[in-house]
């Protein structure tokens, strides 16, 4: 029964990883940007909640109402200014710019909030759980994060598939120049894609802050798990991102079930194994030549 519990915990942890990876996958799939500041942006989202909530005891769920919209605006602005300009100079420049952004964010957060760990309060929700069997415990918070991840990924997928702006984003990811000659304002549409990516990373940061403690330097670890989920799932595939997150979460909890000290190591080893066997991921984006 403990193994079944490990699988359930792994799936719920996978939801958090998928949330992290969603924005990463979107930015890479649409704009070709490898955002090295992604993890730090998630941490920034959590710190924005710390700064703007009335007290440390305020329920952080309220932050979901204002932090993601703030990040959407931030993402649009960052794309239209910093990222757009760097993209014109090539992918290496974009990589360096996002690395620079990562360093700036970490240092700014350390200046503003010290190096101490923080967490976001969700009241009694953090300990509430239900027990479908004696050795199975399902936390409402963790289940909520998994459900949120699925809802966000499905919504983004439906948006891309079923709306005019979504089609424009997909066209942009196929061929930027052709998109411009059919009348698409490519800079605006890229900004919209970045806005969605930044909003999802804000949700991921808030979820992580409710789930665990965070510090200004936590972003690197989050980025690593986000990248691994994207690569396991397949670059540019949102469904693959969800699958990648779940595989990573399962590997970690099942590894930890075997030996509590090797959970994270097992997750990284599974990532390496999948990369070696299926470099394009388990569900690569089905773009045909």
């Amino acid at each position: 029964m403990n193994w079944i519990n490990a699988i359930i915990q792994g799936l719920m942890l996978g939801g958090l990883f998928a949330l992290f990876a969603c924005g990463l996958s979107l930015l890479f799939g649409v704009l070709g940007i490898i955002n090295l500041a992604h993890g730090d942006l998630a941490v920034l989202g959590a710190y924005v909640a710390v700064a703007l909530l009335p007290s440390v005891h305020s329920n952080a769920l309220w932050a979901l109402l204002f932090v993601p919209p703030m990040f959407a605006i931030f993402g649009y602005g960052a794309q239209r200014t910093l990222l757009q300009r760097s993209m014109q100079s090539g992918p290496l420049t974009t990589l360096l710019v996002t690395f620079g952004l990562s360093v700036v964010l970490q240092n700014a957060l350390q200046e503003g909030f010290s190096a101490d760990s923080h967490s976001l309060s969700v009241g009694s929700l953090v300990t509430k759980a239900f027990h479908p069997a004696s050795s199975i415990s399902i936390s409402y918070l963790r289940l909520g994060i998994l459900v949120a991840a699925v809802i966000i990924l499905v919504t983004v997928q439906l948006f891309l598939a079923g709306t005019s702006t979504g089609r424009q984003i997909r066209a942009l990811s196929d061929d930027v120049e052709a998109a411009s000659i059919v009348g698409i304002n490519t800079r605006h549409v890229a900004g919209v894609a970045a806005a969605i990516a930044f909003a999802t990373v804000a949700v991921a940061g808030l979820a992580d802050g409710m789930y665990a403690q965070f510090a200004p330097t936590s972003g690197s670890q989050l980025l690593l798990f986000g990248f691994e989920a994207v690569i396991i799932g397949g670059l540019g595939s949102l469904w693959g991102t969800l699958l990648g997150g779940c595989v990573l979460g399962l590997a970690q909890t099942i590894g930890a079930q075997a030996d509590p000290t090797i959970g994270v190591l097992v997750a990284h080893l599974v990532f390496l194994a999948i990369l070696a066997v299926r470099p394009s991921g388990l569900m690569p984006a089905t773009v045909e030549a």
Binding site: R167, R170, D174, V182, G183, N185, T186, A285, V287, E288
Partner: protein, 239 residues
Amino acid sequence: MSEPLLDAQDLTVRHGQLVALHEVSLQVSAGEVFAVVGANGAGKSTLLRTLAGLHPTHGRIRFAGEDITRESAHARVRHGIAMVPEGRRLFRSLTLEENIRIGQVNARAGSWDVAACYDLFGWMHARRHERVSHLSGGEQQQVAIARALVANPRLLLLDEVSLGLAPVIVQQIYRVLPTLLEQGISMLLVEQDVSQALRVANRFQCLLEGRTTLQGTPEQYTVHDVEAAYFGFTAEDAS
């Protein structure tokens, strides 16, 4: 005399140190098919891409009386310039119908819509949900034309529409052009196939190494004159 629909003056385009176009001028009137011919590397596609807004240029471009020299590519679509690019450049992750609909995002008002394109190309409706990568080259070319038409252009830029297609398919595509002219769409087409271009064009311009070597109506010149301008022969070379 009324102002031409498109008036491009002294266009000069550089790719690094290379001058791809050197002070090229052309005018296209409403209701006209204008052909730009020339060998590989003559600057034909660069000229079309410049008119579509994909290359910055020295010189001046006026369209329907407005200066559009500094306008972006997507803004030029709104003015009424649509392009069928070389190699089709369809969006591979989109279906046939999505590829056509995407051409409407910055469209002018007009009679061309998805249904009108299905009327023009009868086979499309039944295959509208297929990925474009499943279509043949000729079918993809027709989708690219439909995608440009739904923008309701006043000027259609056609870049090497016959490239890589079987002659029978090329004939099918060229048969559509008179219908578009009847609907008030002027055309500026770039072709390596000189005889094909001159059959449909009212006027033409020949480019060689980024410079204009000949221009006029097809009736003004013999095939020999055009070939000489196309390859850069002098009268002595030819004899």
